[in-house]
């Protein structure tokens, strides 16, 4: 219960700090807050767009939660998201299922480059995953300017995917997949022996090794599952929202997953609530940009504030 309270306070602190920073630059904090509120939850349309933003955040949040639980620093959600989108587009001619499966496989494979580098060459995954993000961004840039460029050849973007996710009341079916994924992640981590081994490895790799657990295999497995979740996020975003790829396709969803997972204290089910909060924040920030000309980057700023506030509260708790 206290952990829930801490998360709520951290989220509130982020909102207050955002309004305060706006005030520093001469905006009225109240009008900023009301724009964010009406833009994210104030209307049916606003709610739907918040939900749409929450779907990829939920999946990248799960990606981070699984990796961090296993003690693996996967900061590569952004790159895995992108290759997921690329694979989904290429495979979209074979149908929705094949397309999403390709997205997961691609995300897992991209992430596994980092775990292979770690296991064979001891290269720290915290760096390799980040470097793979930049590589993926330029791979995407090349794809949409080169081999996958739309046939009309007018803009640096691809043609529409062959399939699209069905919609229910303005929200695509991906939301159901994402919710199912978080239940699956919870079941995997807390209801299976494989999950027990992943968590033990994350908490104390030495003890895990002495208990006969193959720690390297856990790392590879966690990284692959984590990458698959981020890749799936990219696939769903493509088939549900953008329907085509362009250079800024990832839009920071991968990095945002870190804040989503940390606010949820790495719990797969709490990640649902956390992704809704950040979905609203991102949507509200987009509205700020339109209505008040304020950079939508404030959403990123808000994520940082949430993480830092959580650290402060954890410290207070640890001191007692």
């Amino acid at each position: 219960m206290r952990r829930f309270a801490v998360a709520v306070i951290a989220a509130a602190a982020a909102i207050v700090l955002l309004a305060f920073s706006g005030a520093l630059f001469g905006h009225s904090p109240w009008s900023l807050l009301s724009i964010v509120a009406s833009g994210s939850v104030g209307s049916r349309f606003a709610l739907a767009s918040t939900l749409l933003k929450s779907v990829p955040l939920l999946l990248t949040g799960l990606s981070v939660a699984i990796a961090f639980r296993a003690g693996v620093w996967n900061i590569g959600g952004e790159g895995q998201f992108i290759v997921g989108g690329l694979a989904a587009l290429v495979a979209s001619r074979f149908g929705i299922v094949a397309s999403l499966a390709a997205a997961m496989l691609a995300g897992a494979a991209w992430a596994s480059i980092a775990s292979a580098m770690r296991l064979w060459r001891n290269a720290p995954e915290v760096l390799t995953t980040i470097l793979l993000n930049f590589t993926a961004i330029h791979l995407l840039g090349w794809s949409v300017n080169g081999p996958l460029r739309e046939h009309a050849g007018q803009y640096p973007q691809t043609d529409l995917a062959h399939v699209a996710l069905p919609e229910i009341g303005g929200v695509h079916f991906g939301i159901v997949i994402a919710l199912a994924a978080s239940v699956f992640a919870w079941w995997l981590l807390y209801r299976t022996a494989a999950g027990l081994r992943l968590r033990a490895t994350g908490l104390n790799p030495n003890a895990a090794r002495w208990a006969g657990i193959r720690v390297g295999a856990q790392l590879a497995r966690a990284m692959a599952i984590s990458g698959a979740a981020a890749g799936l996020a990219g696939g769903i975003e493509l088939l549900g929202v953008t329907h085509r790829l362009f250079e800024r396709f990832a839009a920071g969803y991968g990095y945002s997953g870190i804040a989503v997972a940390l606010l949820a204290q790495l719990h797969p089910l709490a990640t649902i609530a956390s992704s809704l909060f950040f979905g609203a924040l991102v949507t509200g920030a987009g509205e700020l940009q339109r209505a008040a000309g304020i950079s939508a980057g404030v959403a990123t700023f808000g994520q940082a504030v949430v993480i830092l506030t959580l650290i402060v509260f954890e410290h207070v708790r640890a001191d007692r």
Binding site: A193, G195, L196, A200, L203, N204, W210
Partner: protein, 417 residues
């Protein structure tokens, strides 16, 4: 000189030190004897000013230096650099200056340690403990406190240490020697203070007492003799001074014999996952995981291994050391493995828990398991093993019977035979 009066200190739920008064005069060597957990180290950390007492008063004349049981050295730095770390203030310097100063310091302490440019990582355990001693003596303390210094020393090194202690005392310092090895205590100390359960139980001049009386005071009853050996020749002990390759051997066996039961040497680091529950820790080796089944299994284990816990969902990290070890035993032994590798299975445990661990190992052997016991506690090796091998610098001696070992083990451990 130190003067402690009515010191009390509570750590967690236990009263580690309970109304203890103690004087150590200049020129005197006082031994502080007692079982693990008797409160010796806590009392001396208070005496040295490392931690504060909850009650009572501490008077020190001059500075007190406490040489810890675990080394506080930087492996990646040289002997000379480690000594230079104690230097105050900012200055420019070079490797050569540091090494020249180091050799002067080492010489002034009268302890033999050659070539100050060697990295600490390359030193033997005995040399490391010498370096710790040099660091302490170089600060010219008026009170020198040594916490279990002989546990990592060969017999020859122990003799050398005692010579240094006597000289320091003769030069006017007060020396406190914490140990549970009674023959050593009797050999070097002028006065012996025995602690048990946080209190001083007995105190006498060394010449007025003997091993048996001290041992009885330490454990509070007559010590048991090793039980009869009905283990069918299945327990092999590997003995040696710590740091001679025991950890590497255990790790190698862990990776090679994956079906065996493994009891690691460092139970908080390698044995349990502190943040997980007892049930989860017990299930780490299981093929399947079902929370309800695991809780039932854990309840059985808690009863069978008499683990003192509030229930299967208690955090393993909150258990006492002895109970953590029982959780590990339950996980590793309950599957009845054909082979068991136990490294220092009773280190840091009280007498009750030690006896429990020994019983479990014996009964596993009786039931047919072959056991490799890696230990630096010779008493433990002789109490349990049918065969003894000595490890020295990573190499194992030929197997010895306990009676052969009794005469040869000391020289083998020192690498002189």
């Amino acid at each position: 000189m130190i003067h402690l009066s009515h010191i009390t200190k509570t750590l967690g739920a236990t009263r580690a030190v309970d109304d203890v008064s103690l004087d150590v005069r200049n020129g005197e060597i006082v031994a502080l004897a007692g079982e693990n957990g008797a409160g010796k180290t806590t009392l001396m950390r208070i005496a040295a000013g490392e931690i504060d007492a909850d009650g009572g008063s501490v008077n020190r004349e001059g500075r007190a230096e406490l040489v810890h049981q675990h080394f506080l050295l930087v492996d990646a730095l040289s002997i000379a650099e480690n000594l230079a770390l104690t230097h105050r203030g900012f200055r420019f310097t070079t490797r050569r200056i540091i090494e020249r100063e180091a050799s002067a310091i080492i010489e002034s302490t009268g302890i033999e340690l050659r070539d100050g440019s060697r990295l600490v990582a390359e030193l033997s355990v005995g040399e490391r403990s010498k370096l710790e001693l040099i660091k302490a003596i170089a600060r010219k303390p008026s009170t020198l406190i040594l916490d279990e210094p002989t546990s990592v020393l060969t017999p020859n090194e122990t003799t050398e240490l005692f010579r240094v202690m006597r000289r320091i005392a003769a030069e006017g310092a007060a020396v406190v020697f914490i140990s549970h090895k009674l023959p050593e205590v009797l050999e070097v100390a002028d006065r012996i203070v025995v602690m048990r359960g946080g209190r001083v139980i007995a105190e006498s001049a060394a010449r007025d007492t003997n091993v048996r009386d001290l041992a009885n005071a330490m454990v509070g009853r007559i010590t048991e003799q090793p039980s009869d050996r009905a283990t069918a020749g299945r327990i092999t002990a590997i003995v040696g001074v710590a740091g001679n390759g025991q950890a590497e051997l255990a790790a190698k066996l862990r990776d090679e014999e994956r079906d065996a039961g493994h009891i690691p040497e460092d139970r908080t680091r390698d044995g349990i996952v502190a943040e997980m529950t007892i049930a989860e820790n017990l299930a780490l080796k299981a093929k399947r995981w079902n929370a309800r089944e695991a809780a039932r299994h854990a309840e059985r284990m808690i009863a069978l291994y008499s683990i003192r816990a509030s229930g299967p969902l208690q955090r393993a990290g909150d258990l006492s050391g002895g109970n953590q070890q029982k959780v590990i035993l339950a996980r590793e032994l309950d599957r009845k493995p054909k082979r068991i590798v136990a490294a220092e299975p009773t280190r840091g445990l009280d007498i009750e828990a030690t006896r429990f661990v020994h019983e479990q190992l014996r009964s596993a052997a009786v039931e047919g398991a072959s056991i490799l016991l890696i230990t630096s506690d010779l008493d433990e090796a002789f109490a349990l093993a049918d065969t003894i091998q000595v490890i020295y610098r990573g190499r194992l001696s030929d197997p010895l019977t306990p009676s052969e070992a009794a005469t040869r083990v000391a020289s083998l451990m020192a690498g002189v035979a």
